[in-house]
């Protein structure tokens, strides 16, 4: 629809509503109000415009205004829709939620096989939630797992958060989202097709073998057809029965809800090195150690007379320089000859040398241009 056409169009058409250009609650159309934004609440994913959300939920939680819904919605949870298809939106939300609880990394496992097994169990949980299978039970188990593994979960979260700081990680996340969107779209097609054929088969079987009203059997059938009838499914059921679940083994994840095999024992990482304000440089003297005080008349005035000291002149700095000058001479020429002798550990010698140097007025011998 061209912009001109939109403007000339009189009443909000059915078409506009289908396009998602009209709020199903207040019926105002986007073309009359180009700033209009639609929001959804992950409680039921019914779409409505921002001003409807403001109007209905600002006073506190209220029922969804969409006919037949009645779920209680909170304003804070409304947000813009990321995906065109609301089913995809919901699945991504669920995947995100599950992933935030089951956030172990490959590194946490001893073998790749262990990691893959873990991923499969997690996928089962996700699948159940997405397709409304054993939702209550699955949620209860997930919550129990979350409670029991709170520390590990937050640790992995902060790992992930740190990773996300880097630009690269953010790019990867974008890629991942695109990938998810595509995968979701594909899965959806598949699901629909499967749904239709399986449902028919299932219903027919049931109708053939049991009594009961066709409607309820059909409803049940619709649920069942969504279940994954794979080996994974069986495994999960077995676990639920408790045989693998019993208790955490030594390197397992102790949880009443799930058992992941082959988890590595966590070794605390070495603490991150603190920042070195010296940038790796040190000023330890190799050849001498300076003393706090040298008893030398020549220096005493400079030390005590405020005319010399009040400006911050520090004879220790002078001593350091004199020692340094003196020992750089020694260092260059004597060091190699006096091998094995540790000049640094003989401060008394340093003192004597410094005194000697000072006494001879070392500065007079040096053509210091300053």
């Amino acid at each position: 629809m061209s912009r001109a056409a939109q403007r000339s169009g009189a009443a909000p058409s059915k078409r506009a509503q289908e396009d998602g250009d009209m709020c199903p609650v207040c019926k105002s159309a986007r073309y009359l109000n180009p700033d209009m934004r639609f929001l959804v609440n992950p409680e039921c994913y019914h779409k409505m415009c921002e001003s409807c959300v403001d109007r209905r939920f600002s006073q506190g939680p209220a029922a969804c205004p969409i006919a037949g819904c009645k779920r209680t919605l909170r304003k804070a949870r409304f947000r813009t829709q990321t995906f065109e298809d609301i089913k995809v939106e919901r699945e991504v939300d669920i995947r995100r939620e599950v992933a935030s609880v089951f956030n172990r990394e490959e590194d946490d496992f001893e073998t790749l096989q262990n990691y893959n097994d873990y991923l499969e169990q997690v996928e089962n949980v996700t699948w159940n939630l997405i397709n409304d299978i054993d939702v209550e039970d699955t949620r209860r188990k997930m919550d129990a797992y979350k409670e029991e593994n709170r520390r590990q979960i937050t640790r992995n979260q902060s790992n992930a958060a740190q990773e996300a700081i880097s630009r690269k990680a953010r790019e990867e996340e974008d890629h991942e989202l695109t990938r998810l969107r595509r995968a979701d779209a594909r899965r959806e097609d598949e699901l629909e097709r499967q749904e239709k054929s399986d449902a028919r088969k299932g219903i027919i079987n049931k109708l053939a073998t049991t009594k009961g009203d066709a409607a309820s059997i059909a409803r049940e059938g619709r649920r069942a057809e969504l279940k994954k009838s794979s080996a994974q499914r069986v495994a999960l059921d077995k676990k639920r029965d408790g045989d693998v679940f019993s208790s955490g083994t030594e390197n397992g994840d102790a949880s009443s809800a799930f058992l992941f095999k082959g988890l590595k024992k966590r070794v605390a990482p070495p603490p991150e090195k603190p920042y070195d304000p010296y940038g790796g440089w040190s000023a330890e003297k190799e050849y001498f150690s300076q003393q706090d005080f040298y008893d030398w008349d020549y220096l005493s005035n400079a030390r005590t007379d405020p005319r010399y000291s009040a400006g911050g002149y520090d004879i220790n700095d002078y001593c350091a320089r004199a020692l340094c000058d003196a020992f750089s001479g020694f260092g260059v020429f004597i060091q190699d000859e006096v091998s094995g002798r540790d000049l640094g550990s003989t401060p008394s010698m340093a003192t004597t040398a410094a005194a000697a140097v000072g006494g001879e007025r070392v500065d007079a011998k040096m053509d210091d241009v300053f």
Partner: protein
């Protein structure tokens, strides 16, 4: 000449970061093969006498290019090695100084001597020295193309935060500490002498006023350090002073990075004392024993003893640094230089290891850069005429040189 201190600070992993002190002690600046491109320590071959350095050979190694900037006593050009146009250097050409027509200008000599001693990532590297036929001295320096700290501080289109300030402050503090460990006073620390390398590293430059720590009873000139950055002892005419003067200036630079304008501002030296005491309180014998014995000391009027600004002032203006940051900043502004933090104490402060961590240098904000920035820089400096005192020492340098010569 004096030997380099063999015990100068060195990298802990005995890396080839710096010239080994021993080699340095034996090496005089230029080797004819000097080259900044193929090594970070380009000039370390055959020893030569200082007089021999000023030679044709070295001069012919370099090609002078466009103008990078101008200081008080020098014009700085970009340049490169003749055989390698990608090896950028900065060539600091000293302005003809009529007073030293048949000798070396003292500023240049100071600069060369000081830089020869100092090899540290936060101190500008000296590659070579040569003279031209008109007897002008040329100092070949590391090329630092990203402007200076003052430009950054004033460029409101660059936004930065506490972690960035911490990173810049740390690079400055390391440079000052290294100078002092090597017994060298810089005496002109300010934002526009802190140049920024292509990789974001801040480097202390312009050693035109540097000197070694003096011997006892040997007076120094108090007319050093650009006024806004000058500590109270120099304003009071102290002739015997130490590293504390540089620490004060360092505090000023860090403060202005936070404020984004100059910190202690005035038009005359007397007013500068007022600017300081307005913030830090009057200089009295109580807070600074012996201060009244300094030559230019003026006691405050009895009824006008100023009190230091309360903590709320610091929190208001320097809250960005956090409480630990405020404490370390204030430690650089203690009026009595003997009680002021030393560069080493500054680096030992917990501020550096507390959060936030300093920003890694590659990630530091930078000005738009390039030629535009350069032009803007030049304009800025042109407009900022500090009447007669901007480089207060233009005259002082010459006058006081006699004092300093042995």
């Amino acid at each position: 000449m004096a030997l380099s201190p063999i015990d100068s600070p060195k990298p802990v992993p005995a890396a080839a970061k710096a010239l080994p002190a021993k080699a340095k002690a034996l090496t005089i600046l230029n080797a004819s093969t000097s080259s900044p491109s193929n090594a970070s320590t380009p000039s370390s071959e055959g020893p030569q006498d200082l007089s021999e350095q000023l030679n044709e050979q070295v001069r012919r190694n370099y090609v002078t290019g466009s103008r990078l900037g101008e200081g008080t006593y020098a014009i700085v050009y970009s340049g490169h090695l003749r055989h390698d146009p990608t090896s950028l250097v900065a060539i600091k050409k000293l302005k003809v100084n009529k007073d030293y027509l048949d000798g070396l200008a003292p500023d240049a000599f100071r600069e060369v001597r000081a830089l020869q001693e100092l090899s540290h990532p936060n101190i500008i590297k000296l590659y070579a020295v040569f003279s031209t036929r008109d007897q002008n001295l040329n100092i070949v320096l590391e090329h630092l193309p990203r402007g200076d700290i003052e430009g950054l501080m004033q460029n409101k289109s660059v936004s930065y935060g506490p972690a960035d300030v911490k990173a810049w402050a740390n690079m400055l503090a390391k440079a000052v500490w290294f100078c002092h460990e090597n017994s060298i006073l810089h005496r002109d620390i300010k934002g526009n002498n802190l140049l920024i390398a292509a990789d974001g590293e801040v480097k202390l430059a312009d050693f035109g006023l540097a000197r070694t720590f003096s011997d006892p009873y040997r007076p120094m000139t108090y007319n050093v350090i650009t006024r806004f950055y000058r500590p109270p002892e120099l304003l009071y005419g102290a002739r015997y002073y130490g590293g504390a003067v540089d620490v004060w200036s360092m505090g000023c630079v860090i403060a202005e990075l936070v404020l984004r304008h100059f910190f202690l501002v005035s038009n005359t030296d007397i007013e500068q004392i007022d600017a300081i005491t307005d913030v830090f309180g009057s200089c009295t014998e109580d807070v600074w024993p012996g201060v009244s014995r300094l030559d230019h000391y003026i006691p405050p009027a009895k009824d006008n003893i100023k009190r230091p600004k309360p903590m709320i002032y610091w929190k208001q203006h320097f809250g960005m640094l956090g409480d630990d940051g405020i404490e370390y900043l204030k430690s650089m502004f203690v009026l009595d230089p003997r009680k002021r933090a030393t560069a080493r104490q500054v680096l030992d402060h917990p501020y550096w290891t507390n959060n936030p961590k300093p920003t890694p240098k590659e990630l530091l904000p930078q000005a738009a850069g390039g030629v535009e920035k350069m032009a803007e820089d030049l304009k800025r400096r042109g407009g900022e005429i500090e009447e007669g005192d901007g480089r207060a020492d233009k005259v002082a340098r010459k006058l006081n040189f006699a004092d300093l010569k042995r």
